[in-house]
Subunit: 154 residues, 2 copies
């Protein structure tokens, strides 16, 4: 069978959030909390050439390692919810593969440093990949299941 694939960090996050507990769950954050949250992504020097042209994009997709996730679970109870949900129906860090994804606004690039907003990651998060956000990632009419009910809809 497939023994999997090993990924190595290509960069690291600088954030004012030091611990997972410093991050409010999105559904409980004040309005525009994350839009106002800024920080940096440092891409390691061996990968800097891969950033050329990224500065033309307003948003980037950052794939990262949930390095502080701990235990993996198949069912999780999202913050503020009572009912357990399948982990693939949530954005919980406790995933079979602790892979995270955030869409961030790219405020600017200085060499191999990306300044971003929308940051919902803790300091030291290992970045595995960066991709430009394109029109194919933007879906206009969406249904968001259990998130649509109650608090989660924000």
């Amino acid at each position: 069978m497939n023994s999997g694939v090993r990924f190595r960090p290509v960069g690291v996050v600088s954030s004012r959030f030091r611990e997972p507990s410093d991050l409010p769950p999105p559904a409980f954050a004040p309005p525009r909390f994350f839009e106002r949250s800024t920080g940096e992504i440092e891409v390691f020097s061996g990968y800097a050439a891969g950033l050329d042209g990224l500065e033309g994009f307003s948003h980037i997709i950052v794939l990262f390692h949930f390095h502080r996730a701990g235990e993996s679970k198949l069912k999780v109870v999202p913050p503020g919810e009572l009912k357990p949900r399948g982990v693939f129906a949530t954005r919980s860090p406790h995933r079979p593969n602790p892979l995270g994804l955030s869409v961030l606004r790219l405020l600017g690039r200085k060499g191999r440093i990306l300044r971003v907003s929308g940051l919902d990651l803790i300091d030291g998060t290992p970045v595995l990949d960066i991709k430009p956000y394109t029109v194919r990632d933007r879906k206009s009419h969406i249904r968001t299941g259990w998130l649509q009910r109650g608090r989660g809809s924000r």
Copy 2:
């Protein structure tokens, strides 16, 4: 230093595209080509419980291993372009970490089989994670850099 993290497939793609060469580059595909492209994701039985609640979402984010990518590059020449771009400013499979991301429409779920459209993956692609697509992934005003010029803007 960080020796990285190993991820193991939680599922596999069933697609009518057998080879990377069967897939047209998005910029060259006929209009609505990918919207009409359907297929399935089989989640392995050990992870099936993680899918509960996913059926309420119209779109899912699939993170996968570009298992046929071959060589990694820092600069790539996108299809139809003349100028090399940094790989992080493209969606090329030839990435330092061959991690791919597709936003797919979830047509339905039967147990651990997800029926999807928007499929731009080849048969046998190892799936590493599945996430619900939420309002935070949808950005209304975007700039898409070099993609905005010429063919790439479609």
